[in-house]
Subunit: 252 residues, 2 copies
Amino acid sequence: MLYRKGENAKNGSKQQLYARFAEVARALGSDHRLELLELMAQGERCVEELAELAGLTVANASQHLQHLRRAGLVTRRKERKYVFYLLTGDAVLNLVTSLRVTAERHCAEAAGIVDLYFRRRDALEPVSRQELRRRQREGSVVVLDVRPAKEFAAGHIEGAINIPVKELERRLTEVAGGREIVAYCRGPYCVMALEAVAKLRERGFRARRLQDGYPEWRLEGLPIAAGLPGPRGRPGVFSDREPRKSRRAHSR
Amino acid sequence: MLYRKGENAKNGSKQQLYARFAEVARALGSDHRLELLELMAQGERCVEELAELAGLTVANASQHLQHLRRAGLVTRRKERKYVFYLLTGDAVLNLVTSLRVTAERHCAEAAGIVDLYFRRRDALEPVSRQELRRRQREGSVVVLDVRPAKEFAAGHIEGAINIPVKELERRLTEVAGGREIVAYCRGPYCVMALEAVAKLRERGFRARRLQDGYPEWRLEGLPIAAGLPGPRGRPGVFSDREPRKSRRAHSR
DNA sequence: AGGTTACTCAATAATTCATTTGAATGTTAT
DNA sequence: ATAACATTCAAATGAATTATTGAGTAACCT
């Protein structure tokens, strides 16, 4: 055991706790794993699917997924031949969002990269404009504008309701459950819709964000084919149990 | 064999961005760095001070700090002979909090540790920040900051009095009986407030502890007395600290 | 049964990280 | 100027992490 002097000497368990937190953080410390997490944020997926979407070999993806599982960030569900991985809960999504926000806000170096990235981001698998329009016609979706009221008043997507992201917490009752929610904000560089989706999911809503934002909707309306095809199977079907499988300790 | 190409090519910017996020996450992926962050959440500190509090050699602490700095999580300020490190902003605190919440909620293993270590914590039901705020307004409570004087000076809850936990025994007379005492310290994993509450109760005071600590209070925008840079004393002067001797680092 | 699919495991090399040591800055006091 | 101090740097070591390979397991399909 480790010994330390001073006021910390007496609590090694505090150190243990920090070590555990660090382990979780380290699980986030890989670009591939972050990408896998964002893919899983849309719903459960099987290993091969994740591997292909993230551009990894299956074996490598499998190992990354197990790393995440060891850290408690994802769980898995076996069905027939397949193993579906999913996020352990929405706290994970919050954590990833928080990481992104912090990284964006405090890394000048990243700012340039962020711009590039946001121009063509497909990471959170947004709803395309085309898809949203189709689903709006079906009435299977609630469109949520999370920009400030003034901007909403100046123009917004037809049929959208407006709850600024800052008021979302206390106005949650205005959002009817049941239908999936599609949130949007100012545009591709704006994180408000991301935050809204994270919050909504935390409260048990099904929520996704719209690709880009209002200006793009208004100006173009013509969706480019998304980088990723829609989620296979039925999305949003989460089952929470995990048949705890054999776990081997690795000796080294 | 590898799906590393094709129309879904993960070219530069996206990978670069993920890599940047991962770098930030990796900076959090060390128990020592997490501890340093918690210390800095109390206010800026110089390297030697941080090293001693975290039980590291100065050189090692310096390198960890630079790791954090590279990730954009802390900045530094030079003054005279000293280099003071501080958190880049509150987003960092949010990130660390988010990490903690996620780790607690989703790691069975961590839950065990948290439980073991903080079984007492639950026994001493904490006062929520809202409750404290309310009772502060009615004047029915004494707020007691049990952190070292230096941290108190760097910023504290408005209206709080400061008696470091180590001096509590011999300064008990300063605490008026009658009103209930709410003690707080650095944060949720800091035991100083717990100890203070235990001691106070032994002496017949009514005492509870505040949920979390000063950084969380400040983060919510609740009233604080901000520290003044003012005439700065020499850093590293701790009232009752033994002279430094050899330090043992440790591995786990 | 034999073959395929979906995933995991074990062993490897390449890389990165943490820590220690001692020396090199740069600032302040004498 | 010299000494003392605070911090950083540079090199070395061992430990941990990564991607790759190929083998292993279990479910599924004729």
